[in-house]
């Protein structure tokens, strides 16, 4: 087949996603430059007001807050998920299928209910506090709810499978004879891990980071419920503005700010890891 003929194969996909997602995206861009009336209806009048508001110092702190949250979420899911993916890939095929199935299963249950599940566990009158008090380890309930850390745990929990699956794909095709060779040459386990395993599975790490970081910016109800609404993230702000805030143009501008934030961080990340990933995920 000639290249142009092969290129032709990709055209339907480009059109399909390009149309259905690209057009909405362009509409959001257009919306961010429009005004609204007192009822919240869109008025077709050009303005830069929304963008001026986005760079307000208070709102920039919301960006920073979300960035921190998303980065920490990606880091936690990586630290927890990488070993899980690695160990799972070493299991016999049957157990591996079982392990992957068990990892996916909780995510068939509504994320709202699982968030309530965390509240049942961590609340003042919750399961963990009751158990600890019954054991006599603590005298009064440990306050675990409504903190930044609580939101972080909840968000990481929701996005964990994306990281595990991405890393698993990389770890699984890792050539084990390379590890054997490394051991034979006298390298320690850790040295082998950092010099061979990690570089070879970097595409999976980059992929997982991407798949966790982006949704972590927007998951609003987890931080509302577990964080007790005690701080503001981009997801919450956009949600409020688009609904009761009656300001869809400003919500659009913030959404694009969120998109820009995601792309900047990802671009940085891809650049840093590009040399090592070779035929990487996104070049």
């Amino acid at each position: 087949m000639r290249t142009w003929k092969r290129n032709l194969l990709a055209v339907p996909i480009l059109l399909w996603i390009g149309l259905l997602v690209g057009i909405p995206m362009l509409l959001v861009v257009a919306l961010s430059f429009l005004s609204r009336d007192h009822l919240g209806n869109i008025v077709y009048q050009f303005t830069l007001d929304n963008w001026r508001k986005v760079v307000d110092p208070i709102y920039l702190r919301v960006f920073w807050n979300s960035l921190l949250m998303a980065l920490l979420t990606a880091l936690i899911t990586l630290l927890v998920g990488y070993p899980v993916a690695y160990i799972t890939s070493n299991l016999s095929p049957r157990r591996r299928a079982l392990s992957l199935g068990l990892i996916m299963l909780p995510f068939w249950i509504s994320s709202l209910l699982r968030t309530y599940g965390w509240m049942i566990l961590l609340g003042n009158a919750g399961v963990i506090n009751n158990v600890l008090m019954a054991l006599g380890l603590i005298e009064r309930p440990l306050p675990m709810m409504y903190k930044f850390g609580t939101s972080l745990v909840g968000t990481a929990y929701m996005l964990l499978p994306f990281m595990i699956v991405a890393v698993f794909n990389s770890v699984d095709k890792l050539d084990r004879s390379l590890l054997e060779a490394s051991y034979d040459l006298g390298a320690s386990r850790w040295k082998t891990f950092f010099h061979i395993t990690i570089p070879l599975t970097l595409p999976g790490i980059v992929g997982g980071f991407t798949l966790v970081f982006i949704p972590a910016l927007g998951l609003y109800f987890v931080s509302d419920l577990l964080g007790g609404g005690n701080t503001v993230f981009l997801g919450n702000l956009i949600h409020t503005l688009a609904t009761r805030g009656r300001n869809r143009p400003l919500a659009a501008a913030f959404s694009l700010g969120m998109v820009a934030l995601a792309l900047m961080v990802l671009a940085f990340y891809w650049k840093v890891t590009k040399d090592k990933t070779g035929e990487g995920l996104f070049q």
Binding site: H38, L39, V62, D224, G228, G229, R244, R246
Partner: protein, 348 residues
């Protein structure tokens, strides 16, 4: 073989015919899910009239607006909050209701008619009334060494550190502060707003949680001793733990009315009128109120209400409480500024 296909053909034709008949007699409602419109009531209506009811569930007033404006000919009836009635009315989405088709309309308490969102009572029928109030665990407040809570101003007591739960909306929280300063909701005077901003920031240490949907839970499990919430939530909190008692702040309270409205392009207006008249029957309205725990605007329903309901001041609002409530009118003028102050407040 031929026979089977003949039978199959007949079945298909029959099914199509039946479904055509059914779709001719069906109406589509759109509002919040759960038992906001109790299913038992809907089923009774279906049995009585043979009209099938589709119940489109959404999560917010704004979702209803988007869906209705996209497809006004696919929805017959909506239940939506006062401010959204106002928006939909001004956008020309709503049908003027023909009262001659609604004999039971006379049952509606005139107290809840002619409000800002529908000054001439043409478009909306009030369905569920709620106010915001304080739910207080007086015992625990005393234990903390704070003085009894009767007003919004009492929420600022340093003894209540991390013990207050409030609904999560800028306009309402600013409303508490403005009222505690003796001002009106949605104040725009920069000096008064600046004053309210400072006072708002002073409240932060006392708030343990912002929660719109189940704030009563925080009082039930003891993380909070005071909550500012909607009356239907306070009713649930009080039912779960009788120590939780309502306090109607003397400075005044906000009121919300969820109303039935009809799409201008409703596909089955006759069916919709039948449904509206059905749910305005006194005994039906009383049962709805019992299930949903909202205040019913149906005056004729009062004799049918259970005792607990009639004796509960959060459900059967005393006149002086009802007189001390007001709507958040003119929200659009303050939304942006209040939201900005609110974000700054939360980031502290």
């Amino acid at each position: 073989m031929k026979r089977t296909s003949a039978v199959l053909f007949t079945v298909v034709v029959l099914v199509l015919a039946v479904s055509a008949v059914m779709s001719a007699a069906e109406i589509t409602l759109m509002t919040w899910g759960g038992d906001f419109i109790p299913r038992v009531i809907i089923e009774e209506f279906e049995q009585e009239t043979g009209i099938r009811v589709n119940y489109k569930e959404v999560t917010s007033n704004e979702d209803m607006q988007s869906l209705l404006e996209a497809n006004p000919d696919q929805y017959d009836l909506l239940v939506t909050t006062d401010y959204m009635v106002d928006i939909l009315r001004q956008n020309g989405m709503l049908e003027v209701l023909d009262k001659s088709k609604l004999p039971n309309y006379a049952n509606i308490n005139p107290l809840y008619l002619g409000k800002y969102y529908d000054p001439d009572s043409e478009y909306a029928i009030p369905y569920a009334v709620s106010i915001s109030l304080l739910l207080v665990n007086h015992e625990e407040v005393e234990k903390l060494g704070a003085k009894p809570i009767t007003t919004y101003s009492d929420l600022w007591q340093p003894e209540l550190r991390n013990k207050v739960v409030v609904v999560d909306w800028s306009v309402e929280i600013m409303g508490i502060v403005l009222k505690s300063l003796g001002y009106d909701y949605n104040e725009t005077d920069p000096e008064k707003v600046a004053q309210a901003r400072e006072k708002l920031f002073a409240l932060k240490p006392n708030i343990v949680r912002f929660e719109t949907n189940t704030p009563e839970d925080s009082l039930i499990n003891g993380e909070a001793v005071v909550g500012f919430m909607y009356s239907n939530q306070a009713v649930k909190g009080n039912a779960a733990d009788p120590r939780l008692q309502p306090v109607f702040p003397t400075e005044g309270m906000p009121i919300f009315i969820d109303c039935w409205v009809m799409s201008k392009e409703a596909p089955n207006k006759d069916g919709a009128y039948q449904f509206l008249d059905f749910i305005m029957r006194p005994e039906i309205a009383a049962r709805i109120a019992d299930i949903t725990k909202f205040t019913t605007p149906n005056k004729a329903a009062e004799p049918y209400l259970p005792d607990y309901y009639r004796n509960n001041p959060m459900l059967n609002l005393p006149d002086e409480v009802a007189a001390n409530t007001s709507f958040y009118i003119g929200v659009d003028k303050v939304l942006e500024e209040y939201e900005h102050i609110y974000v700054e407040f939360k980031l502290r």
